[in-house]
């Protein structure tokens, strides 16, 4: 019988170093998605998605920035705060889109970070539309007042940063990505923030909120939150008891008409989620295109557990063929829960499933409804409208084109469609134009395929002196674009006489008369 040699010290050291580095790597990768604390676009259609603090905030379908729903806080002390998916944080960056119908009669608290019930930082909207940031509550020290003023009936992106510290605290406000108030080395106390509160607190105002994200490590990029719900189909896991009709978790706002409940043992249930690249009834007209940037995703559940359960309930997300289970402690009555925040690719989003997984006995883990919410930055959501053909002029006959010569896919607002990979056919006005695949003009072509919305084009004109234009037309389609005129000059080693064609009279070597 062979015995292994005792491990050498150097080998053991190598393994320990490897494990240490691996552990570090794992800890970094695991924390990569932990920066977003909470996000909501109100797309469940229920105010219960947030936590009501004061008054009676509503869900609006009339004034919406994205999706189908927004939060409406209409009153003098009507606000909601983030569903506490996190315990506390000493750094908070909130991104909220805000719309108000009228300026307040007196300065009004509109956003506040709190530690329990105590204000840590406060943002007020003044009667002239300016903003004032304060340390603590509305009676606190003023950090600054913006020179920028906000107007009624306009969506504004408000970023509100608070760093808790008795010596190096920071409070900063941005409006539409521009800093309007900033204060550093502040004494913002020592109490960690437990929530952010949105809504008018001191006087009556009607304010709408949409696409809110709270982050603990930095400002959040511009984005929109849209939602998709389950669709009918064959899921990977299908063992729960169903109530109603499929899809069982697609009611908005949530109700108990359709649902699915676990059975004893170890079982899981998922449902296919509607594609984000196509519209889904009840979730607005937005879609996510390949050129858009996906910032974050969360699955919000309306669910409960029965009494007498012995075991564990997990929210299950199946993305890219991989299951992720998140343990959740459920109430015995229906309530809203937020799954982990991740950042999948669009391809994986469009094939994902979500549901629950139960392990135990006596279980009645019931999911009433669920919503997959995605915060994304629009890039090329708009359809291809035309091509911009950019050309350098002049060029020289008999010489491969020089300078910047490109075809760019654009939408109707002339935004570049950065996800476009279409193929274009090339045509021209003038004579003797040949297109090539590369800058040495060695291999001719008739087509170019765009990459990230742009293609370089190369061409050579056999004869001068003339004006030409170049047109790109999408292959097997009608979208098109034509360049400005390009002057084609004679090569310096060609005498005008050798280029005279068709009776053209050339004076000064380059001018057609």
């Amino acid at each position: 019988m062979a015995f292994e040699k005792p491990m050498q010290k150097s080998r053991l050291l190598q393994i320990l170093i490897f494990l240490f580095i691996g552990g570090l790597f794992l800890s970094f990768t695991q924390s990569a998605h932990a920066t977003v604390l909470w996000m909501s676009g109100a797309e469940t259609g229920s105010i219960s998605e947030a936590v009501t603090l004061y008054g009676t905030p509503n869900i609006s379908t009339s004034t919406v920035r994205s999706g189908t729903y927004s939060y409406e806080t209409n009153g003098s002390n009507t606000c909601f705060y983030s569903n506490a998916a996190y315990t506390s944080t000493t750094s908070m960056y909130t991104r909220a889109y805000m719309y108000f119908t009228a300026l307040p009669s007196v300065s009004n608290v509109i956003i506040q970070t709190v530690a329990g019930s105590t204000g840590v930082s406060t943002l007020e909207l003044n009667t002239d539309g300016s903003l004032t940031a304060k340390i603590g509550a509305s009676s606190g020290t003023v950090v600054g007042t913006s020179s920028t003023t906000l107007s009624p009936n306009t969506w504004y992106r408000i970023d509100f940063k608070t760093i808790v510290s008795s010596t190096v605290g920071v409070i900063e406000v941005r409006v539409n990505d521009s800093v309007v108030i900033t204060g550093s080395n502040l004494n913002t106390g020592t109490s960690a923030i437990t929530a952010a509160v949105y809504g008018p607190r001191l006087t009556t105002q009607d304010i709408f909120w949409d696409d809110i994200i709270e982050n603990d490590s930095g400002y959040v990029p511009d984005g929109k939150i849209i939602a998709r719900q389950p669709i009918v189909g064959t899921p990977t896991y299908d063992s729960w008891t169903k109530t109603g009709t499929a899809p069982y978790w697609a009611d908005t706002p949530a109700n108990t008409a359709n649902s699915a409940t676990s059975v004893s043992g170890t079982d899981a249930q998922t449902e296919l989620i509607g594609s984000f690249s196509t519209t889904q009834s009840g979730h607005g007209t937005e879609t996510i295109g390949s050129g858009d940037t996906i910032n974050d995703m969360v699955v919000t559940y309306d669910q409960k557990v029965g009494t007498g359960k012995s075991g564990s309930d997990y929210m299950r997300q199946r993305v890219g063929g991989t299951d992720t289970d998140t343990l959740v402690s459920l109430s015995t009555s229906d309530a809203y829960y937020q799954g982990p925040i991740t950042t999948p690719t669009l391809t994986n989003l469009n094939s994902m499933e979500a549901g629950g997984n139960f392990s135990g006995t006596g279980a009645l883990y019931t999911i009433e409804d669920l919503w997959v919410m995605v915060d994304y930055a629009p890039g090329s959501g708009a359809p291809l409208d035309h091509y911009l053909v950019t050309v350098a002029s002049p060029q020289t006959a008999g010489v491969c084109s020089t300078g910047t010569n490109t075809v760019t896919a654009q939408d109707s607002n002339n935004n570049t469609l950065t996800g476009d990979a279409s193929t274009v056919n090339m045509t021209y006005t003038g004579t003797g134009v040949t297109f090539y695949t590369n800058s040495s003009c060695s291999t001719s072509t008739t087509q170019y395929t765009l990459s990230s919305g742009v293609a370089n084009i190369y061409y050579e004109v056999s004869s001068g002196v003339q004006y030409i234009t170049i047109t790109a037309t999408k292959n097997l389609s009608t979208e098109t674009g034509t360049s400005n005129s390009i002057i084609i000059n004679l090569a310096s080693n060609i005498t005008p006489e050798t280029s005279l064609k068709g009776g053209m009279q050339i004076r000064g070597g380059t001018t057609i008369k």
Binding site: S277, T345, D385, T445, Q447
Partner: protein
């Protein structure tokens, strides 16, 4: 006197001859029917010829003298190789295009066309007439091209780099046979 050939040897000889004949005939069949093979997947000569015909029709519709046929053939062959590589990547990574996505893109394309041509409403008749005039293709062929376009967009997003750059890299290692 020669020994008689055993039955076993006879069977082996017949089998070898049959295999060689199969290989020869199969190669001939492949060459006769396929213009290109990409990683073992054939692109038929008929497909290439159809693409060339569409290109010629396009130049005719634009009142443009077509480039020489070899240039067109090379361009469409390259495009078909690109499509094959995109298809193979998509199949391997479960990237699909749904009918809903295609229909959505179709409605967008019709909308853009109608907008540019001051056509009110969502009728696609003028659009289809124009497509047919430009390429001699019908709606189903147009939808197929849209599907390919969406797939290319998705593959570009999936590979995380410009599609042409990715395709160039793929072509270096792909088994591409042009007959």
């Amino acid at each position: 006197m020669n020994k008689p050939i055993s039955t076993t040897v006879t069977i082996i000889i017949i089998a070898v001859v049959a295999i060689l004949a199969f290989i020869f005939l199969n190669k001939k069949f492949v060459k006769q029917n396929y213009a290109v093979q990409v990683n073992g997947v054939g692109i038929t000569k008929s497909t290439v010829n159809t693409a060339i015909a569409q290109q010629l029709e396009f130049y005719k519709s634009q009142n443009q003298q077509a480039p020489n046929i070899s240039t067109i053939q090379e361009s469409v062959t390259n495009a078909l190789i690109d499509n094959a590589l995109v298809n193979q990547y998509a199949a391997k990574h479960n990237i699909t295009v749904s009918n809903a996505e295609v229909n959505n893109r179709y409605e967008e394309a019709v909308g853009v066309f109608n907008s540019h041509n001051n056509i009110k409403g969502a009728s696609d008749s003028a659009f289809l007439a124009r497509i047919n005039q430009m390429y001699e293709i019908d709606k189903s062929e147009y939808l197929a091209s849209l599907k390919m376009g969406i797939l290319k967009d998705k593959v570009q997003a999936s590979v995380g780099e410009p599609l042409t750059k990715w395709l160039q890299e793929q072509k270096k290692t792909a088994d591409i046979k042009i007959y």
